[in-house]
């Protein structure tokens, strides 16, 4: 369900984005940092859905708040001649990897559980058949 919604959203976004007008180059660096922040929020949202700790208010406020804060920090950095956006990128990308790690661990564990189950089922049937054979022999 969640996966389908994400895929539909991405496809629609790509379609509209391809036909949208471009923005001026001055603002593209701000948009870039906002994209990184929003991407981090989305991964965080997916990870929290998996952890069953999803809170809509936190998610939405994080999505917009992080993006706006990142843009403001970038502007402040430009004014102070310090590349604050580098720190923002480091933090966001680090968090993105953490969230991706959570997502990955969940699915890998799910998969291994499934494989284990199938294996156990097979073992059961084998034991049953060997029992049958033994019984017949007896």
């Amino acid at each position: 369900m969640v996966l389908i919604a994400i895929i539909i959203g991405c496809l629609l976004g790509a379609l509209i984005g391809m036909n949208a007008p471009t923005i001026s180059y001055t603002y593209s660096s701000y948009l870039a940092i906002a994209i990184i922040a929003a991407l981090d929020s989305v991964f965080g949202g997916i990870a929290s859905v998996i952890n069953k700790k999803f809170d809509m208010k936190i998610f939405i406020s994080g999505f917009f708040g992080n993006a706006i804060l990142a843009i403001l920090l970038t502007i402040l950095g430009e004014k102070l001649n310090v590349d604050i956006y580098l720190a923002a990128i480091v933090v966001f990308v680090w968090r993105m990897f953490m969230n991706l790690g959570t997502i990955r661990r969940y699915y890998v564990e799910k998969w291994t559980d499934k494989v284990k189950q199938i294996h156990e089922q097979k073992l059961d049937t084998k034991q049953n058949t060997t029992k049958d054979i033994q019984e017949k022999e007896v």
């Binding site: 369900m1 994400i6 976004g13 471009t22 180059y25 593209s28 994209i35 998610f59």
Partner: protein
């Protein structure tokens, strides 16, 4: 279940907004940069240049708006006063003559371009490029053939125009332009076609291995001069 549906809808909307932003960003970056420099300083410098270019374009737009406003005011003033009609026509005529108005008409398009030969295999590579003097001579011949308005790569030739050599480029009106040089001229096309004559400058350039195309055209639009013509020292002589 409803909670999960709600969550997935919100996540879908977020992803939608995100991909729209990413697509716009990718398009913007693609539009402005052909290659990504390896160096951090290089990237910064390029961004700076692009920002100034954008500012320049915005300024040009503002000037255009001011021009339009001026035209509107002139229009308004002349509507109410028929005596000013002559003055308005005089201004328009003057703008046309000195090159501060866009003009259109029949004429010719000449394209000068560097030679395709490999520069490392020739004795004198400087003979394979179009020089400032080549542009200058062609413009001179056009004037001689009766051209009324001339532009080189969208730079209007006005009385104060200088054509200079700037290394591997040519400067016209202080703007750097490079090969191919598209010289547009408005005039009687049959007269302008005399530039193609044997022994003419275009023929000589072709013989030297450069590209020098001549094409007649019925619809040529020549842009106006965007700079300022300001005479500080020349004063009118009182009769």
């Amino acid at each position: 279940m409803t909670n999960k549906r709600f969550v997935s809808i919100v996540l879908g909307i977020m992803c939608f907004a995100l991909t729209v932003c990413i697509c716009i960003q990718v398009k913007t970056v693609k539009q402005y940069s052909t290659s990504i420099g390896q160096n951090y300083d290089q990237n910064n410098l390029r961004a700076e240049v692009l920002r100034y270019k954008e500012k320049y374009e915005n300024m040009l737009k503002e000037i255009e708006q001011a021009d339009n406003q001026l035209n509107e005011k002139i229009e308004e003033a002349t509507n109410q006063n028929t005596d000013l009609e002559d003055a308005k026509n005089e201004i328009q005529e003057g703008n046309k003559l000195i090159g501060t108005a866009e003009v259109t008409g029949a004429g010719a398009i000449i394209t000068l371009a560097d030679s395709n030969l490999d520069a490392s295999k020739v004795l004198d590579p400087s003979k394979l490029v179009v020089h400032d003097l080549d542009v200058f001579y062609v413009i001179n011949e056009l004037k001689n053939a009766g051209a009324e308005a001339i532009s080189v790569n969208e730079q209007r030739i006005v009385p104060t125009t200088a054509i200079e050599c700037g290394g591997n480029i040519v400067t016209v009106n202080g703007e750097k332009i490079g090969s191919p040089f598209v010289i547009k001229a408005i005039g009687l096309p049959e007269n302008l076609a005399n530039l193609q004559r044997t022994g003419g400058y275009l023929q000589a350039m072709k013989d030297a291995g450069l590209t020098a195309d001549f094409k007649k055209s019925n619809h040529i639009t020549i842009p106006k001069y965007t700079g300022i013509i300001n005479y500080k020292y020349a004063q009118s002589v009182e009769d």
